[in-house]
Every structure is written in C-alpha cells, then in structure tokens.
C-alpha cells in the first residue's frame, strides 16, 4: 500500500499559572445601573476568549446575563494589576479573582435587600437579571435592586485579589530543584491517527482525540478552540515549520519559506473535556492554553512509527526525512536478511 496508516498516543502534564513564583491578580466589580455588571481588571485578551469567560463568570456570580457584563481592561492607568497573558493562567488567576470581586459586589447588594425585605441574607438569590428572597413574594429586577441600594447611599461594588501559595524551586548551585512551583496541575492524553504516503513521505494527521483536564469548563466551545488550535500549532512544529539560520542569517524570513499549516493540513480534532475541579480556587477552574499542545508531537511521531516503522527524533518530520528513513530501514532489513542467509 502506498498510503499507510497508524496510530500513536502520548500523555502530558502541565502547571497552571506562573512557575515557581507567587502569582497574583486583582479585579474590581460593580453592579451598575439597570442591573448590568462592570468588571475592571488588567486582563489581556489574546484571542483565547478570556473576556467572554470573565463575562460568564461575572454573570454567574452576580446573577445577570453575560451580555449585560461590560469588561474594562488592558490599561495600566485604569485597571488593577492582573499580570500577563501567558502561563495558561488567565482563567485560573483572573477568572477566580473576578468571581471573588463579583461575590463581594453582590454581597453589598444582597445586604441592602435583606435589610429592606427583612429577610436573612442567605435566603436571597439572584439569577437571569432578577433578585428574590426564597419562600417570599419578594422578587424584583437587578436594576430595581441597584436603584434601591443607591437610594440608601450604597454603590454595590467589590474588589478582590487572588494569589497562589507557591514557592521558587531550589535551582541554584547544588540545588535539587525541590519546591512548590504550582498549586494547580492538569493532565491530558492524545491519540493521533496518521496516514503516510510512502511515495512522497508526506504525513497527513487525519484525527486527534484529545482528553484534557481543565478543572471546570466555563465555555466548552472555547476550551475546544484552545485544544484545536494547540494541536494544529504542534502539528506545524512536528511536520513542517522550521526557522532556519545560517551564520545568524535566516533563510525563512517570510511565509513563502516559513511554512505554516493550512486548512488542508489539519486533522479532525475530537476533544474530550475532563473536569477535575481545582480545590483551592473559588471556581474549580484550571487552564488549557498550553497543555493542549504538549502531547501532540509525540503522539504523531508514535503514530508515524506505528504506520511505517520509522521514528523521527529530530523535528520536523518532513516528507524527505520520513522517506529517507524508510529507505534506510529497508536497506538495513535487506542487509540483515542477506546476512542471515
């Protein structure tokens, strides 16, 4: 057969948020006129969908619709520090701190209503833009509740900070690397199915099944998006991308020579989201941006080996590398069988 298929798998682990240092983030929340929510934090959306995740978290905590959440962000002169967009930390660090700030704002509002309605604060519920007291006829919109609070001189705001209980690792001279680099770990596993064209050495990754623990999926579609994008970036590194330098000068300074995966180079991705809630943060969320990319390359290399019996140790596994390794393997086998005879 000219086109040989095979499967491979690999597992991974990853730490969430900044490594071997104390991570922290802060946020402000306000339940605004009309019952909308305003969240301000130094978060940086880089395409992963964190703004939507935060809107969902604030909506959930305060009890409004996600479309009624406004997020003010990204400005060091206007927002509290939430540090950087990286380390798979945003849902974990900023999601959790937005939840805490939202809870505090909500508590201010609930306290006013409990006093007004003469009920216990813990009997008050919010959701879908309304606030009510259980087992009573008290039910008004969040907008009306905000007006009540303001009439009593209360602006329902909250603020919070969220930090990690982590340490550096002993990595100085003679150190053993011990320490507590993260408080949340995630694990994952991927299976890849590939087809190798033995005429050209081309590899098509036909499918990847990706199972990843994310703690708690705030937006499953967004989680899938991270997994799918991570896998395709890994396939780029695994099969084609190569920033080449000769004496410090690159020969791949444009996208004609620096080859990226196109729509025709990607597998079908089947994501399986696992939720093993983080016990420390208020939401149980963890992260997914980086771990999604870790097991793909070895899973694909293991699958190539399964298909054609050659293993690539030096990335990327270009068509040429694979075909030449197959020829080398065939030569060795011929020689071995001749020697045996």
């Amino acid at each position: 057969m000219a086109r040989k298929r095979g499967r491979g798998m690999a597992a991974c682990w990853y730490g969430i948020a900044r490594t071997a240092t104390v991570d922290r983030a802060a946020a402000w929340a306000e339940i605004d006129d009309g019952g909308s929510a305003k969240i301000v934090t130094g978060v940086t959306e880089i395409g992963e969908g964190i703004l939507t995740v935060l809107a969902q978290i604030a909506a959930h905590e305060i009890g409004v619709k996600p479309e009624h959440v406004v997020i003010g962000d990204n400005d060091t002169a206007r927002a509290p520090e939430a540090a950087h967009a990286g380390a798979s930390r945003q849902t974990y660090m900023i999601g959790n701190v937005v939840a805490l700030a939202s809870r505090e704002a909500k508590k201010r509002l609930v306290d006013v209503m409990a006093d007004m309605w003469d009920v216990e604060a813990d009997s008050i519920r919010t959701g879908n833009g309304e606030i009510w007291a259980e087992n009573t006829n008290h039910r008004i919109t969040m907008g009306e509740a905000v007006a009540c609070a303001k009439n009593r001189g209360v602006v329902p705001i909250g603020s919070a900070t969220f930090g990690t209980d982590t340490t550096g690792i002993k990595d100085g001279k003679g150190g053993d690397g011990s320490g507590r680099p993260w408080q949340a770990y995630v694990f994952g596993c991927q299976v890849a199915e590939v087809e190798v064209d033995t005429v050209t050495g081309e590899v098509q990754v036909l499918a990847v099944w990706a199972a990843h623990d994310v703690g708690r999926a705030v937006n499953p579609q967004g989680v899938e998006g991270q997994i799918e994008g991570g896998i395709v970036q890994a396939i780029g590194q695994g099969l084609m991308e190569d920033y080449q330098l000769k004496d410090g000068h690159t020969s791949t300074s444009g996208f004609a020579k620096y080859i990226l995966p196109t729509s025709l180079d990607v597998p079908r991705v089947n994501s399986i989201i696992i939720e093993d809630p983080d016990p420390i943060g208020p939401l149980g969320v963890k992260g997914i941006g980086e771990p999604a990319m870790v097991p793909t390359i070895p899973a694909v290399m293991n699958a190539i080996y399964d298909a054609v019996g050659v293993r690539v140790f030096d990335l990327p596994a270009t068509p040429e590398k694979i075909l030449m390794a197959m020829r080398e393997k065939a030569r060795r086998e011929t020689m071995a069988s001749q020697a045996a005879e």
């Binding site: 057969m1 000219a2 086109r3 033995t198 005429v199 050209t200 050495g201 081309e202 084609m240 690159t250 020969s251 300074s253 444009g254 004609a256 020579k257 080859i259 990226l260 995966p261 196109t262 729509s263 025709l264 180079d265 270009t318 068509p319 040429e320 075909l323 030449m324 020829r327």
Partner: protein, 302 residues
C-alpha cells in the same frame, strides 16, 4: 517594497512598445504581479525602486483565447484560474486543471498569468511543465517584429529566458489533446500554497478498449534548472499495452533526471513513484479498461 514613479497600463501592443521605448532602461514589465511584489521585499530583493512599471494585462492580444481541435492559442495574460473555469480549455489541455488546482491558491491563480509563469522561469514553476507537455510555442513581439520558438528553448535556466530587451511574450500556441486523460502530481511541505519539490504533468491517450497506450506526454519540474519533457518514457510507452509492469518499467528508466543540488535521493525516489502514480491516474481518466491495471498496483502507488 516596490517603489515606482509611474505605473502604465497600455491598451495595445503599440502603446506598450512606445512606452518601453520612451522609458528604455528604466522600466519593468509586469503582469499578474504575484511574483514581482513578493520579490521586492526584505529577505529577497529588498526595497526596489523602478521608475516605470508597464502592466501588460490589459492588452487585448495578451488575453486572446482560441481552443481548436488541434491547437490551442492562449494570450500571455491568461490567468491560471481560467483552466478551472473554462471547460473547453480543460478538455483540450487535460493536465492543466489538475495543475491549476495545485497552483498557489484560489486567489493567486485569479491574478497570476501563464506568461508570467514562463517568463519567471522558476525551476519550481508548476505551469511550465504542462506547457512543455503540449509542445508549447512561445510567441514574442517587439516594436520591430515578431518571432516564436519552442518553450523549451525559450527557458534557458533558472530565471533566464531568451526574451530580448524591448520584447514581450504575447502568447502560447500548444497542441490540443482532447480525449487524453491528465494528471498532475506535486509534493512540497504542505498541501496548499506550496512550492514544488517535485511536480509532474502527465497526459495519456488510450485506444477504444482502454487497453493500449496510443499516446502519452510527460514533463517534470522542480528537480532541475528547467522543466524537462520525458520523451524517452513517452517513446517506451507509446503503442504498448497498458500494464502495471510497463508503467514500472517506465518509472525505472535510468534517466538521471534530478539535477537539483539538494534532496537528490529524495527527489529521485519521488520521481519514480510519481511516474507510476501519475500514469495510473491519467490512464484512468482516459478510460482505462478496469482489468488493465491491477488493484494491487493502484494500492501500491495510488
């Protein structure tokens, strides 16, 4: 960045020649611009200042199209996309639609021209081996007259042609091969928008029963300074019964085709496989008898 002081779009050959005369030594002729603009960037030519650009794509003669039973005439400004949109043209040049679908992407082939592909004379050009397989004649014109020559003589090396100063490539005249099956095999480092490491154009005509090869055309590129017709293989195949053994024999002909300095062994291997694969695909499209080629052969190369 490509910087010019003037961008001219002549509406006739005479206007173009007048502009070329007027700006002698300070102009460059452009067509689709899909190679010229990327060329004038860092890492390649860098910033390039050319006083006058003369765009020939609006000249009516360069947009002519004539598709006959025996001959096809195409203006040099014919966009590559036309081979996918024009059914009659695709029938007359049956490997070209397969080539076109591999050529850059849907958008670039709407701009890139056949003439530009030939004048650039890139060793990895996709369209020129197809044209070679059609025995294309290039038509050249200048203010003082016209001449023509076979494409294989026109392209003399990487980026080099016989186009003279003051001369324009106006069109191509090709043999038409209606009733042939066509295929185009190509490999690069991905599957879209990719530069060929090897590409092969194949056309096959079979007899009525689909069992005998009446005629075949093959041309290859990406592996040597200029595209090459594979006449030795055509001669071997012509008039023979279509069998897997024959196709493998053709692929095994010791032709020493690969002249590129890099990836020689890889390219030799791919060429061999592509010859069998391309012939199978073209033969099937030419109506090969179901029992001519074995399932095993198709599985081994398909």
């Amino acid at each position: 960045m490509l910087i010019c002081d003037e961008y001219l779009t002549p509406a006739s050959l005479d206007e173009a020649f007048a502009a070329m005369e007027r700006h002698r030594g300070r102009y460059r002729v452009v067509a689709g611009c899909t190679d010229t603009l990327p060329w004038a960037r860092e890492g390649r030519a860098g910033d390039v200042e050319i006083p006058v650009l003369i765009d020939v794509t609006k000249i009516p003669e360069l947009n002519e199209r004539h598709v006959g039973d025996k001959r096809v005439r195409l203006g040099a400004a014919t966009p590559i996309q036309r081979f996918l949109d024009d059914a009659a043209l695709g029938r007359a040049m049956p490997a070209m639609p397969r080539c076109a679908v591999w050529f850059a992407d849907d958008q670039i082939r709407a701009q890139a021209t056949l003439g530009g592909n030939a004048v650039n004379a890139s060793p990895a050009a996709d369209a020129t081996p197809c044209l070679e397989a059609h025995d294309a004649i290039v038509e050249l014109a200048s203010a003082t007259g016209r001449r023509s020559m076979p494409l294989r003589e026109f392209i003399t090396g990487p980026g080099k042609t016989q186009l003279a100063d003051g001369e324009l490539l106006t069109g191509f005249e090709c043999d038409a091969f209606p009733g042939y099956g066509g295929s185009f095999e190509k490999v690069g480092h991905r599957r879209s928008l990719v530069i060929s490491v090897v590409c092969l154009a194949v056309m096959v005509k079979l007899d009525r029963d689909g069992k005998t090869i009446e005629d075949t055309r093959l041309a290859i590129a990406g592996i040597r300074p200029v595209p090459r017709r594979l006449r030795e293989i055509e001669d071997l195949l012509r008039g023979k019964k279509l069998t897997g053994e024959l196709l493998e024999e053709a692929a095994d002909m010791p032709l020493d085709l690969v002249q590129s300095r890099s990836r020689q062994e890889y390219r030799r291997d791919v060429v061999r496989g592509f010859l069998v694969r391309g012939l199978i695909a073209a033969a099937k499209r030419a109506g090969a008898s179901p029992d001519a080629l074995t399932r095993e052969l198709e599985a081994a190369y398909g």
